[in-house]
Amino acid sequence: MNPRRIAAAAMAAGVAAGLAACGSDDGSSDSGSGGGSSIKIGIKFDQPGLGLKEGSEYTGMDVDVAKYVAKKLGYSDDKIQWVQAPSAQRETLISTGQVKLVVATYSITDERKEKVGFAGPYFIAGQDLLVRSDDTSITGPDSLKGKKLCSVTGSTSAQNVKKKVPGVNLQEFGTYSECVAALASKGVDALTTDNTILAGYAAQDQYKGKLKVVGQPFSEERYGIGLKKGDTDLCTKVTDAVKSMISDGSWQKFVDDNLGPAGFKPGAGNPPTPDACS
């Protein structure tokens, strides 16, 4: 054995030991289910007006809703651990107990209900269009002929609009922020997805007055708070929290604070009545 080989072996052993240490940690730590002094909540990190990491703060309507609900559950703001919840991982995060709640533009659908439980809806969103403020030619999905439209690859909104406007000239990106950049630089003429997301962008300081939401929603998305399937106790508590949030005026405040700057008014059906937990 020469020194180099010993060094290499030692390094490999060190790595293995390090990993083992990492692995053994989790036995003692609380893996997200029940108890504990903090609560993990999944949100979007990059959705202005809904869930956005701004510096060391988290802002947006979903964040405010999450904080309100957490408080009702007995967790103060500093006990909340925010977890990034990309759309594709929301069910996994909940069903494996990595987060207790998901408040991330999470539409209640029958398919999802098979995997996770929902409390809410706490908001009724609808698919709409975001255009440049000086553009008056686009008034709704029917006026999209010959226009360049943008959305996110594989999203419900993209699939919807393809069905609704056959042959639409659709550009798809990985995130809505890229669509907004394309819209601002006149690469595309409109961006389509939930009106809440659109209003969130239009309300950003940098886009204020430059972008507007058309205001003709053509679908209904019922945002719910995702939680573990079958946890009726938690679901009831969260539903009660949502009810009191709507009745004590906090709901209106959250909407106005986060989406109001875009001149956004919640559409029909808002504020919603949360479903009963089953």
Partner: protein
């Protein structure tokens, strides 16, 4: 083979021609740069407000530095593990035992064929469902698993081709002085092959570093996903991506630089076969080595 054998040293006239060519090339480059900058300016992408965030403390402490740390952490762990994985299965493929050879072959070929992102999804689901690691560690470990399996397989192939590229005499000499097959492999063939494949290992490190960006899909926060978030927060997606690209290139340069230093140190040791005696060694050196990152995924 050095490139200079391919042509005579250029004479005065050829040198003049080359200089003119260089001048013309530079002019064209400057012209293109000018047009690009103007178009960027027209589109408002050079506006001070889009770039100002990058000189604030928040942009670095909240987004970019955590991003760089996330990328480096995943990359370093994966590179070390992939080297171990690659050596083990590379040796497995060279084993005398038909069974070991076959199993190693299947493992290597399979993990080379599956997209890294899909492996990460698998690992993430697996770890999350069975509570293999602490909750916070799951995304990192899933990223490391995906990167290790894929890049380890690529390295295993490099080990194999490196050993195959060595002159047959090396193995014969080992056996003839009474070493067993395994001993010959471990103490004679592998050290030479490993040194020869160092440049490729470097190239693969670059791939690992970039591929850590795939972790975005399973909630692992690294540089690319933090730049996306930064772009959303400051409404400057395009400048944020430009900054990310520059940071990635700089990180990869730094990595390559360090690796080359290591390579130079190791390269000094031992006696290299002369070209006359062992072109095949040089060949192996290059086939495995001169091909940095040939076998890369590099999604990012």
């Amino acid at each position: 083979m050095s490139a200079t054998v391919l042509f005579d040293a250029p004479g005065p006239r050829a040198r003049m021609r080359h200089r003119i060519l260089t001048g013309v090339g530079l002019l064209i480059a400057v012209g293109i740069a000018y047009v690009v900058l103007r178009k960027l300016g027209d589109a408002g992408q050079l506006a001070a407000e889009k770039w100002k965030p990058f000189v604030t403390k928040d942009a670095w402490t909240q987004y970019l530095l955590p991003g760089i740390w996330g990328t480096v952490k995943a990359a370093v762990i994966s590179i070390v593990l992939a080297a171990v994985f690659g050596t083990v299965f590379g040796m497995g493929r060279l084993s005398d035992n038909r069974g070991i050879r076959w199993v190693s072959g299947v493992v290597v070929e399979f993990f080379r064929a599956v997209p890294v992102l899909i492996m990460m999804y698998f690992a993430f689901n697996l770890y999350a469902r069975n509570n293999v690691f602490a909750v916070e560690l799951n995304p990192l470990m899933a990223v490391v698993t995906g990167l290790t399996l894929y890049n380890g397989s690529v390295l295993a192939e490099l080990v194999r081709s490196g050993v195959h590229g060595l002159p047959a005499g090396q193995r014969e000499a080992g056996l003839s002085i009474g070493l067993t097959q395994g001993q010959t492999l471990r103490s004679i063939l592998l050290p030479q092959a490993l040194r020869a494949m160092l440049p490729a290992l470097i190239g693969q490190c670059v791939v690992v570093l970039k591929d850590s960006a795939l972790g975005y899909g399973i909630t692992y926060a690294e540089l690319l996903s933090w730049s996306k978030t930064l772009g959303s927060a400051y409404a400057n997606t395009i400048p944020a991506y430009m900054a990310a690209a520059v940071l990635f290139i700089l990180m990869n340069f730094a990595l390559t630089f360090v690796a080359r230093k290591v390579e130079a140190r190791l390269g000094r040791r031992g006696v290299r076969p002369t070209p006359a005696a062992g072109t095949a060694v040089l060949g192996a050196d290059a086939a495995a080595g001169g091909n940095p990152a040939g076998p890369s995924t590099a999604q990012g």
